[in-house]
């Protein structure tokens, strides 16, 4: 198992007004993974990142990056972190190359134009290096933010909603960039409320709401564990109601009377599919077609957040 590179231990943030944005958040992030931090707006995603990176002062708890405490050894800790903020915060009149050089210097690294060229090329920004930032498109500006964050060779990269307001094509582009970064060995923590994004990229998923981590789990395991499958059965001849002999299966019949839906748990010892099909035959129902559907991460997520709210 890979060692953890970032540890968040019971991190708390209560604002002056009394609003509790982070409630004893604990997380362990493994070197080289992509963790997606999912949560609705106002869940505490950005506050969590801000508290780790030094933009917000936590009111309790502890964070270490590569073993360095972010408060007592902030220089060593922050040198390992790259942050891509949610808003496009850039100097409009500055040239791309200068702003990236500035970031590298600010993080205490000696000038290395060859390295910056590699990053700018990787992000398709090399041709635009001498252009002022305000002349770039929105997607390009986001890339400049990533280039700035990578300019000092961080080992952990925070991407706060990297594809918010970005069109579909650019979003796929961005995913590709993130995958490349992972291949280069960068650990990535990404916040998003596009479930699709987490599903496409993450190794692990953490769900945060109301300042609390509701769960953190391998994506595959999560989808297996939480994933209910549905089997839809099309009948040759429509029926008016579900026969009494099939009641135990909890089937639902659609309005046309031609489709039966059976929900089952993929993790259960017996899915009951064979028994159901046998029972259908015994009841004299002829099956025309069968299809199955796995619930998406989005459905899982909505379910979780609702559960959390009802508590």
């Amino acid at each position: 198992m890979p060692h953890s590179i970032l540890t968040v231990d019971r991190l708390e943030k209560t604002y002056d007004g009394g609003f509790r944005a982070l409630d004893a958040v604990s997380l362990d992030i493994r070197a080289g993974e992509i963790l997606a931090l999912l949560g609705p707006n106002g869940a505490g995603k950005t506050t969590l990142i801000s508290a780790i990176c030094g933009l917000v002062q936590p009111t309790g708890g502890k964070v270490t990056v590569g073993g360095h405490d972010t408060v007592t050894a902030y220089r060593a800790a922050r040198a390992l972190i790259g942050l891509v903020p949610q808003e496009i915060n850039l100097e409009p009149f500055e040239k791309v190359i200068n702003t990236v050089r500035f970031s590298r210097g600010l993080f205490g690294k000696p000038r290395d134009d060859a390295f910056l060229e590699r990053i700018l090329r990787q992000l398709s920004l090399w041709d635009k290096r001498d252009q002022p930032i305000r002349s770039l498109s929105g997607g390009m500006k986001r890339r400049v933010l990533i280039a700035k964050a990578l300019s000092h060779e961080p080992r952990v990269l925070f991407l706060d909603e990297p594809t918010a307001g970005v069109d579909v094509e650019l979003r796929r582009d961005m995913w590709e960039v993130v995958r490349q970064l992972k291949e280069d060995g960068v650990t990535i923590i990404l916040t998003t409320h596009y479930i699709e994004e987490a599903e496409a990229m993450a190794d692990r998923i953490a769900v945060i709401n109301g300042g609390r981590i509701l769960l953190i789990e391998e994506k595959e395991a999560l989808m297996r564990r939480m994933g209910r499958k549905e089997m839809r059965i099309e009948l040759r001849e429509p029926i008016a109601r579900v026969p009494a002999a099939l009641e135990a299966f909890g089937l639902s019949l659609d309005e046309s009377g031609a489709w039966l839906t059976y929900g089952y748990d993929t993790q259960a010892d017996r899915t009951g599919i064979v028994r159901l099909l046998t029972a259908l035959q015994e009841a004299g129902l002829r099956v025309a077609d069968v299809e199955t559907k796995q619930s998406s991460l989005e459905e899982i997520f909505v379910g979780l957040v609702k559960e959390g709210a009802e508590e």
Binding site: Y15, V56, R75, I81, G105, F107, G108
Partner: protein
């Protein structure tokens, strides 16, 4: 110490200055030249010498102080306010740089620009009046200390300001009157006695007096008080900024 960070901020800020060179340099030079023409030449020709110095020459130190003070404050306050306004301050706060390094980068850049403009105005003054500098080393010392301490003051204003209006407020409402009433255009001894006493509460009096002494060897207040005043102001600003970064006031919620 993260010297690279100081250098990065300094270079970045100076690049902004060079990008807006015309507006940075021409406007202070122009406005000061106008002061020379109006106060020095037109009105000054009707005023007797002040303690043996022609009025045109007498106002030179005050004029330089006026410009250097306003430039230091506006450069430094804008320097730190702008990143707050456009959001790039996130990078400063997440960098492995201490408050000392961040402040040093911005304040040194602001002070450099103010110093350069001060020297340009001094050069311009030679075109208008006959001028000699009796204590050039002290002159430069005063100039540098003023640039540094008022850039620090401007930095505090930039952190404090929450909109552009507030950013302009302090220079406009406090600094300009203090400079005009601080003996930039007259000697305190020209005032009625009561006002002389009031003037001694104006910190700018000490700056202008000390600076003027370095030119002409005459001062409204003792040189020691001038040095003490500027060093005291410098320390007060440093302590305030230290507190700001320790508490995160207006920067780190």
């Amino acid at each position: 110490m993260n010297l690279t960070a100081i250098a990065a901020i300094y270079r970045f800020e100076m690049a902004r200055t060079f990008r807006t060179l015309a507006q940075s340099v021409i406007s202070p030079v122009l406005s000061t030249s106008l002061y020379f023409i109006v106060f020095g030449t037109a009105i000054g020709s009707r005023i007797d010498q002040v303690e043996g110095v022609s009025y045109g020459a007498f106002i030179v130190p005050g004029l330089i102080m006026l410009t250097v003070l306003t430039q230091s404050i506006s450069n430094a306050s804008f320097g730190i306010y702008f990143p707050k306004f456009i959001g790039t301050v996130y990078e400063l706060l997440s960098a492995p740089a201490s408050f000392f390094e961040i402040t040093a980068g911005y304040v040194l850049a602001a002070a450099t620009k103010a110093l350069a403009i001060g020297l340009i105005i001094l050069g311009t003054a030679f075109f208008f009046v006959d001028l000699q500098i009796q204590h050039p080393v002290w002159m430069v010392t005063f100039l540098v200390l003023t640039c540094l301490s008022f850039s620090l003051f401007g930095f505090i204003i930039g952190i404090w300001a929450q909109n552009f209006e507030q950013l302009q407020l302090v220079p406009l409402l406090a600094v300009t009157p203090l400079v005009f009433l601080g003996g930039a255009f007259y000697s305190i001894s020209m005032l009625p006695e009561g006002w002389q006493a009031v003037s001694l509460f104006n910190p700018v009096v000490y700056l202008v007096s000390g600076f003027r002494w370095s030119f002409f060897g005459m001062a409204d207040v003792a040189l020691g008080w001038s040095i003490l005043a500027i060093c005291g102001f410098l320390m007060a600003c440093v302590v305030t900024i230290g507190w700001i970064f320790r508490t995160g006031w207006r920067l780190r919620p």
